[in-house]
Symmetry: none
Amino acid sequence: MPKPTFFNLPEEKRIRVVDAAIDEFANNSFQTAGVNRIVDNAGIAKGSFYQYFNDKEDVFRYILEVTGERKLKYLTEMVANLEKYDFFDLMKELFAGGIRFAMENPKLAAIGNRFIKETDPLFKEKILGEMAPKSNLFLEQMMEKGIAKGELDPHLDVRFSAYLLTNISISISEYYQFHVGDDYQHFLPYVDKALAMLKHGMKNPQT
Amino acid sequence: MPKPTFFNLPEEKRIRVVDAAIDEFANNSFQTAGVNRIVDNAGIAKGSFYQYFNDKEDVFRYILEVTGERKLKYLTEMVANLEKYDFFDLMKELFAGGIRFAMENPKLAAIGNRFIKETDPLFKEKILGEMAPKSNLFLEQMMEKGIAKGELDPHLDVRFSAYLLTNISISISEYYQFHVGDDYQHFLPYVDKALAMLKHGMKNPQT
Amino acid sequence: MPKPTFFNLPEEKRIRVVDAAIDEFANNSFQTAGVNRIVDNAGIAKGSFYQYFNDKEDVFRYILEVTGERKLKYLTEMVANLEKYDFFDLMKELFAGGIRFAMENPKLAAIGNRFIKETDPLFKEKILGEMAPKSNLFLEQMMEKGIAKGELDPHLDVRFSAYLLTNISISISEYYQFHVGDDYQHFLPYVDKALAMLKHGMKNPQT
Amino acid sequence: MPKPTFFNLPEEKRIRVVDAAIDEFANNSFQTAGVNRIVDNAGIAKGSFYQYFNDKEDVFRYILEVTGERKLKYLTEMVANLEKYDFFDLMKELFAGGIRFAMENPKLAAIGNRFIKETDPLFKEKILGEMAPKSNLFLEQMMEKGIAKGELDPHLDVRFSAYLLTNISISISEYYQFHVGDDYQHFLPYVDKALAMLKHGMKNPQT
DNA sequence: AATGAATGAGGGTTCATTCAT
DNA sequence: CATGAATGAACCCTCATTCAT
């Protein structure tokens, strides 16, 4: 947790620091990210950095938290009244929302996705600490509901499927980022395609 | 490309070097991998390393190549006569093969998967250089055939779907690695689940 | 010398500061002691510290002074009417008193002993400044009296012997601290042993 | 333990490094000693230092070892045939030898004495590791022999007395260093005084 | 008088790469 | 072709002190 000093900072400066950190972690893994670059870009003294944070891990965790909060806020505002949706519509909203979020916040998306894909489980656990990995839980609940409502195949393995959907969502969002570019409208069909595939399968319906 | 010196090495030594490098890149990202550990584990002198390779990038690229070749060989031997399979059976073989490969070659799998998930496109491009990303091409061809044979929905976006399938395959293989453990037999049902989902969709077939 | 500000402080706060400083210098050498820890434990602001003291040296000198005063007061109260004692009884009182003081004031004793053992003469001189090294003077006077009264060997080198006795006293007190533990009664025999050795020599009296 | 690299160094350079380290640790405690100053004075690159030693602790331990060995060699050569001496003559040789060693190797003596006086028992233990604290053991054995031969008072507490003698020896050697200066001849009487005190006691023999 | 953020030199350590032998 | 010592920039982090409020 950042030190109180950090939260007492004038907003303008605090934002400068946060932005510099986001920039750094968007372009680098935790290991290769550099405190030096952060302080240079934030325009603060090296010592000041350590008045705000305990260490590199501290900023990283904080930025990750900010990332998670912003994305969660973004998505929850989007799917305000969950009840209206059936599972696939919800999925579509979430996938599309994930992409739109990545489009509007490419750096945050990069940070989040990079961390989700992190392979070292010890590092992951150390960073996450108490931060709950909420996203999958939410998805699992949605799937349970979907099954209960008869929308989803009751034979689905919920845990496994939720895991897979999360990864698919990220894959889609990165496909967009690297292959399609900035045009969001142009990309929506891809979401539809992916969902159609997930919904109806890839099997030719004629047969 | 490794220097000629490397390929002139007595086989025993060359293998020692390759193994040490594989070990290192299996446990570390390119950035955090250390030349020191490689030379120590290979039992060669630091200077020798630079007689064989131009720099760290050079070994990494080479190891990546080796990884790709071995996996490709593994898979192609497995699905010797492609013609017999319909697309979903082929998919199943490939998914299961990917997992079995990861089980039998966990280090190579770790290296490959880590690199596929690499987010920095500049780094990726720099490393790949001329190395073609063959795997997706192969999948795309399979899908084209599947469509031609009427097995697959002709509305599928081939490029996009191939990309997605690759990612899904990796995700499954990693789910196996971290959640299920060493028992391959125990894991096959997950492959079936994933494929059923892709084949028939998640939609409840009753409705 | 602490600034006037320090002495104008409400007693409760001044004591908090002094205690925190004593704590820090009891557990650390001057060099490794940290102003941060002092202000934290005292519950004052970093800036306040520099309103009270010129620098780290300043607190240290002050704490050393306090230490000396308290020990001197302790010992002088103990040996209230010096005249009654012969030199060796006095010595015994002083040695035992030194140990009891160390037992009752382990932190102060640690600070004092550490400084006495300080090897850098420039540092020692810089710190001591005008503070006279009173303790040795007192001992020297006692020895002069002892010689005059015929209790001590007139061939003793007073300055040198006083120096040695001081060091021996500290050594004993530290032997107690690390080897014997908290039981003061249990330790008194060691004082007797040391004094017997100093009084009668180590030579076998039989010969 | 220094790395092999260090011992493979050309002698001239190795000595430069050792000398620079000795200089640094003679003038500073372990904590305040600086790797920077060592490498500057040795005229080597910062990185080279870490080719020779694992860390600061490593050099320190090594220098301490060198110190101990040299002093031991010095003393054992001096008291070649122990058997001839009675305990007090031996003591005299050892005290005088300690002083002469300190005179001829003031830096090594400073390092050794500083470490013996070190108060933090955890640090002491960490540094010493397997290095046995031989000196006291040797003294204790000498005292046992002295008692057996009837030279020493059989009531002496051997462990305690050995500890005390070691400290007294150091105290004397430091008294010499700071109060008497470089003239060894001029100082020998002090050794006699101290020993006479220890041998016959401080009590006036007339009474 | 009290505060606490700002500072920057310095701390120990790592590392890919070079180069003389 | 093998070797392993040499290098120095960069790494993360600490600290006594200053200064504006």
